[in-house]
């Protein structure tokens, strides 16, 4: 929204360098948080390839599993895991700022909200891992 009226006095308008996100550790952490979303997207692509292979039958699926085990792809998957963990944990921390939870008229402290989110996440992950191993 433009609010600037013409000025009757000279001003110096500083330029923002493209490397502003390198200026401080918090900005760098922010940039890292946003950049790790690219890896979350990459995982979605792998998931789509997985579904596509699954729909094409047994051979395609076996081929997809072989592709997943290629050293390069396995290493990339490990990077994806690390990036998505960073992305998820940083967002859990921020969620506590956004969502105010009241219990018995009192605001639940942020640390407890973050811890609860992590516990729920670990429980769901354990259930998924259990289903994956046993079915």
């Amino acid at each position: 929204m433009k609010t600037e009226a013409p000025r009757r006095y000279p001003v110096y308008v500083p330029k923002v360098p493209r490397t502003w996100w390198l200026r401080s550790a918090p900005f760098l952490r922010f940039a890292a948080r946003e950049f790790t979303a690219v890896f979350a997207a990459a995982f979605s692509v792998i998931l789509l390839l997985f579904l596509s292979a699954l729909s094409e039958g047994r051979d395609a699926y076996a081929g997809f599993l072989r592709w997943l085990r290629l050293p390069g792809i396995a290493a990339f998957s490990a990077i994806i895991l690390a990036a998505v963990l960073y992305h998820a944990l940083t967002w859990f921390r921020l969620t506590a700022h956004i969502q105010v939870i009241r219990l018995g008229g009192k605001v639940v402290p942020r640390g407890i909200v973050v811890a609860a989110l992590i516990v729920v996440w670990m429980v769901v992950s354990t259930i998924v891992a259990y289903l994956h191993v046993w079915f």
Partner: protein
């Protein structure tokens, strides 16, 4: 601090002398209880009377003396010289704002945006004075009190890279104050403010860097105000679509 003096490196902009800003360095006699503003006042009184900067209350209430101190937006009246181990201490005008002179920035953009969100209590119809005040419970006060502590010092704007990239962004303090009045049980002006908050360059431009909250000297937490404003806007929009009769309360 070396001995009893401290070196200051102060940003200068004097358009009648130089087209670009430059730095001047000053040695200021320092004591343990001096703040950056005291050092600037010493320079102004004893070394260089041409130095221009804003200040008023000297007690972190008026919000006038915000400047970049070693690259971080701070109220200079609350920033002690003893905090800094290395010298010189670099004092610059608040980042992202047009500089008028030395450490004085142009606040017009901020003030215009502030006016756009109508940071006052709006009533559909005022009740007559004889009927008394609009009463609130302590819980209703608690809902918005934190966001009402804003002193318009603009440190959050200088900490916000989104505002730096796009000066048309409404900005942290402005959205926090809009949210403050939206949360006030006496207010009926949400619809008028929402029109501004939901515009391009409104709440949805915020990418939640979170530095506005870190630098806020009054613990207003503008980042939380913006995200909660997003949540309440999205919830209301969703409710108006899926709920019968537009989800009106």
């Amino acid at each position: 601090m070396s001995g009893k003096s401290v070196a200051l490196r102060v940003g200068r902009y004097r358009p009648e002398h130089a087209a670009e800003p430059y730095f001047d360095e000053y040695d200021v006699p320092a004591s343990n209880d001096m703040v950056v503003l005291d050092a600037l006042n010493y320079v102004k009184d004893h070394v260089d009377g041409s130095l221009a900067y804003r200040w008023s209350c000297r007690m972190g209430v008026c919000g006038s003396c915000g400047m970049m101190v070693n690259g971080v937006p701070r109220l200079t009246c609350s920033t002690f010289l003893r905090e800094f181990r290395s010298e010189p201490i670099v004092v610059e005008p608040l980042r992202y704002f047009p500089v008028i002179r030395d450490l004085v920035v142009d606040m017009t953009d901020f003030l215009e945006k502030l006016r756009m969100v109508k940071p006052w209590i709006i009533r559909g119809e005022d009740k007559p004075v004889e009927e008394g005040e609009y009463l609130q419970t302590p819980d209703e006060v608690d809902d918005y009190k934190q966001f009402s502590m804003c002193i318009n010092c603009m440190l959050c704007f200088s900490a916000c890279p989104v505002y730096g990239q796009d000066p048309e962004f409404l900005g942290p303090a402005v959205i926090a104050l809009a949210h403050r009045y939206n949360l006030d049980s006496r207010d009926q002006g949400r619809a008028e403010r929402q029109r501004v908050l939901e515009l391009n360059n409104g709440i949805w431009d915020c990418t939640f860097v979170g530095e506005c909250t870190v630098v806020c000297p009054k613990d207003v937490d503008p980042a939380a105000a913006i995200q909660r404003s997003k949540v309440s806007t999205a919830t209301r929009t969703l409710r108006s679509v899926v709920w019968p009769f537009g989800g009106r309360e």
